[in-house]
Amino acid sequence: MKINILAFGIAKDIFEASAVKVEMTNDATVSNLKYLLEKQYPRLKKLATYMVAVNNEYALDGDTVHERDEIAIIPPVSGG
């Protein structure tokens, strides 16, 4: 399945786009997704930390992702 990934803040700079598509198997987890993204965009690994949101909720590494999920890369936040 092809997963669409939204990017914000520095992640947008790293991807050079506000969204990227990643090809994954159906049983893929957040952890698998991070691995693939970090392989393709090594600068992502250099962030202090980053989170993945699935359908507007912070996701855990073990959560599985589905084709229609809204996935987003959440670099360290700095609002306020």
Binding site: L47, A48, G79
Partner: protein, 139 residues
């Protein structure tokens, strides 16, 4: 409705925010207003830029407001956050909490801004004379 949570691309209005939280049952309102400082760690700032993952930011802010209501007897909570380019002195965030007594207003307001800075998907870019940086992105 006892919450008023918005992500806005236009100038925040403190007077309107205060007016919204006021009510005859409330004896105290605490308001936190963030403003754009002219320097960070001694380095002059030209302007800031805020970006939000809007839908999730609203949802996280609603969670924080609900947590505050569970922890303190507050009556009304307002959280407005700016996006876009902000000049020195402009207002990125206004939080207003009205409660019967001031304890709850102060504590809930403080909790909201502290938690907002930790969990809400909003990002700040600092623009300097010689470059720009997404805050907190690097160790």
């Amino acid at each position: 409705m006892n919450t008023n949570i918005q992500i806005l691309p236009i100038t925040l209005n403190a007077q309107e925010c205060i007016g919204w939280v006021m009510s005859p049952e409330c004896g105290g309102i605490d308001i936190f207003i963030g403003t754009v400082r002219n320097a960070t760690k001694g380095k002059a700032i030209l302007r800031l830029e805020f970006e939000a993952y809007e839908k999730m930011a609203i949802s996280e802010l609603e969670k924080i407001a609900q947590q505050a209501f569970e922890k303190w007897p507050a009556q009304r909570i307002l959280i407005h956050h700016r996006t876009g380019v902000l000049q020195i002195g402009e207002i990125p965030v206004i939080i207003a909490v009205a409660a019967a007594h001031r304890d709850a207003a102060f504590e809930a307001c403080r909790y909201i801004i502290d938690t907002l800075k930790q969990t809400v998907p909003i990002w700040k870019k600092e623009i300097f004379e010689d470059g720009e940086v997404w805050v907190a992105a690097h160790p």
